[in-house]
Symmetry: C2
Subunit: 274 residues, 2 copies
């Protein structure tokens, strides 16, 4: 069996950019097994030197180059990873900053820590406000803030509403509420009373019955609530309601929160706050 | 005044990678104002053609090239954005896939939608499980799951515990609980009883008194709770507690959830589940 290939995502800040970028490339090589490590806050030559020694040790043990994806602002520090026999270095900044400088006809500032830090406090506060809003307006606890919500997610219990709301709040500052469709709601053809005034803010989530059955069974084994028959029934009724009232909806079964969020933003055309 | 420079982040999937990557580069040009648009799901030549026409219209109106950052798997579709007089195209895949193919001595698969979709259902379920865990163990509601938690965040009310927990759960599948230090807890020198058995899982958050005062004032104006004097007192006592019991802690005032999360992972050495 081939051993796994070692990869490092390194950064002088959180490492989110280097990791995200590196993973999207490595995912295209599904035939190779990668062992990846993210190292944030590599912001001094001393830390860089220590890391290089660690990487060299790994590479020598495996007798194979280690892949390093870096996003490090300091030219001095990032260059330290160049020209090592055992390091294959892909540098986000070196690769593109020169061509952007030419296009913009100006020099880059190269100031540390601008990407995932609090550059704009108002925008950051909007994210945190949105997280609190999502928590306070989760699971149909109350409709008192529905008028302030950007989107009200609607779906049967465990269809994926809460994680989707939290992701949209945390990443984009969207004011998300959600409302669980109960069996009582589903037996009627009308919209639930709490939702009627907000028809144009509603967005539905649905899910495959088998997946819902599995999720609910983990919570309440052997319950009517979790039974496949009941899951099928609830989902059919929820989808009928969405169609009847022209509520856009998505199936969350094979979609990550990132995909659901991107689709919801695109379909609703809601303005992001960050 | 110089008008803003138009930028598009485009992808056949969520656009998260292209946006993240592009923003980290553009942030280095703080002197330029950018007007950015993210377009996900550009997965057919027809959609690409429509988008190119829109971009060309913008560019011609402004008489300035539009910057396009793309992460599109289909070679045919991404090449459609090349060689336009009005498009400055930075292609994440074209730039690096060839050199990685050479390094790995194999061809890339180039299969769509691997980065922010559910490739590994177990890993994805771990994220969603962690979100539910964070919600159920938020704000010291109960200690019944503290034994299962990876980390228990501790701090005074509104020091940033909940958003940090949710981010670590949603991004990395970490099982996070949190416990708010109340004035009763703070007047004693001992750890709160609920926390005593979990000393080695505790991580503290602190915050500057002025910032805490501002956040609490929005919630409860003119209260003792929000007063600057009380905020100072609570923070002093909380920090004393952290120091006395050797609890690692961070100041959340100027740190984003991304930065807090990266630091907490690094300091605790907790294993990510995704």
């Amino acid at each position: 069996m081939q051993s796994s290939r070692s990869v490092f995502f390194i950064s002088d800040r959180t490492g989110v950019t280097a990791e995200n970028f590196g993973i999207s490339l490595l995912n295209q090589f599904g035939q190779i097994k990668f062992k990846s490590t993210t190292v944030p806050f590599v912001d001094t030559p001393f830390k860089a030197q220590q890391l290089i020694e660690n990487i060299n040790t790994i590479a020598k043990t495996k007798n194979q180059r280690v892949i390093v994806f870096s996003s490090i602002i300091s030219e001095h520090i990032r260059r330290m990873f160049d020209n090592h026999a055992y390091i294959f270095h892909i540098d986000v900044f070196d690769s593109f900053i020169p061509m952007l400088e030419q296009e913009f006809d100006t020099k880059a500032h190269m100031v540390m820590g601008l990407t995932h830090s609090i550059v704009d406090e108002t925008k950051y506060d909007a994210r945190i406000h949105a997280v609190n809003f999502a928590l306070e307006n989760d699971d149909g606890i109350t409709d008192k803030n529905f008028s302030k919500a950007d989107v009200i997610l609607v779906g049967v219990s465990r269809s994926g509403k809460t994680p989707t709301c939290l992701y949209l709040a945390l990443q984009y500052g969207i004011l998300m509420a959600n409302y669980p469709l109960t069996p009582d709601d589903l037996h009627r053809t009308e919209l639930p009373n709490m939702l009627k005034p907000y028809r144009n803010k509603l967005f539905g989530l649905t899910i495959e019955p088998l997946r819902l059955n599995r999720i609910r069974t983990e919570r309440r084994p052997n319950s009517t609530y979790a039974s496949l028959h009941n899951c099928q029934l609830e989902i059919n009724e929820a989808e009928s309601m969405f169609r009847q009232h022209g509520i856009p909806f998505l199936n969350s079964t094979h979609k990550s929160v990132e995909e659901l969020a991107a689709s919801i933003l695109q379909i609703t055309n809601i303005q992001r706050r960050c």
